[in-house]
Amino acid sequence: MTAVTEPRAQAGSATASYAAFAIVFAIAAPVIYVASELGGFPLFTYHPGTGRIDFGFAAARTNEGPAMYWYGWLATTLIGAAIAGLAATLLPRNVIGRIPLFLIWLLPLLVLPILAYALMPFWTR
């Protein structure tokens, strides 16, 4: 009997842990992403003209073309949200069960207008 129920219990536990990770990852990521974009916290800066990669935020250099921060924002967000998600797997299930799931789709909707506002130079030029 134990041999039958244990794998099932382990599978259920793994499913619950993955769900906890995914829920907290999805809630943390938009917040970290928008903070990273507005605060200027890319993990790295890529200069496509020269192929140079600088750690953190780096301004475009004269005669070396533009600087790209989007990849750095993604890296900051993926690492930050993954840490939050992994931490969530350590929490009791009843705590995870109290997290409102609507935040997963509402937060991206809320941060999109903020990100659009941050693109103001494109709209007003």
Partner: protein, 167 residues
């Protein structure tokens, strides 16, 4: 030793990658639209033969979830790769010609695609546990949001390619 650049120009190689990116996006768009319709407006049982719209939304949504995740990630990675070339070869000429709103919408599309990527793990978890009623509402709205993001990204990318491609 021969390389593909002996047969194709650099611009042709980037154009091929852009076309593959676009084709993957079409597949993703179709799958997500089917799934979103199935979950947001599920088909009712009808006595007679069902019409096109009913058949369109009468799909088994859960069976699309893994394919949609794979398509989103692969399309995203290819788009992120092309984005480096876009920044030099497309954006700078468009800035010189004053297409700032077009470029602004493209930057917003990059944000939308990234936000979609972040909710994929939850989307997959909720569809994998498709019979759990606790996830019904979140599953539905996440799917609808992903479909809306995909449509927005596809249309903006399509318009930008019309304004200036790699060719």
């Amino acid at each position: 030793m021969l390389s593909m650049f002996d047969f194709l120009s650099v611009n042709a190689v980037w154009t091929i990658q852009l076309i593959v990116h676009g084709l993957l996006a079409v597949a993703l768009l179709g799958a997500l639209t089917h799934q979103a319709m199935a979950v947001a407006a599920p088909a009712r049982q009808v006595a007679g033969p069902s019409g096109f719209v009913t058949r369109f939304r009468n799909v088994h949504g859960a069976s699309y979830a893994t394919a949609i995740c794979v398509l989103w990630v692969v399309t995203f990675i290819l788009g992120a790769w092309i984005y480096t070339k876009y920044r030099i070869s497309i954006r700078i000429p468009l800035e010189r010609n004053g297409y700032f709103r077009t470029l602004g919408f493209f930057e917003l599309k990059e944000h939308a695609a990234a936000l979609g990527l972040f909710i994929l793990p939850a989307y997959w978890a909720f569809w994998r546990d498709a019979k759990n009623p606790a996830y019904d509402s979140a599953r539905k709205w996440i799917t609808v949001l992903l479909a809306a993001m995909c449509w927005f990204s596809f249309l903006v990318g399509h318009v930008l390619n019309n304004v200036r491609g790699f060719g």
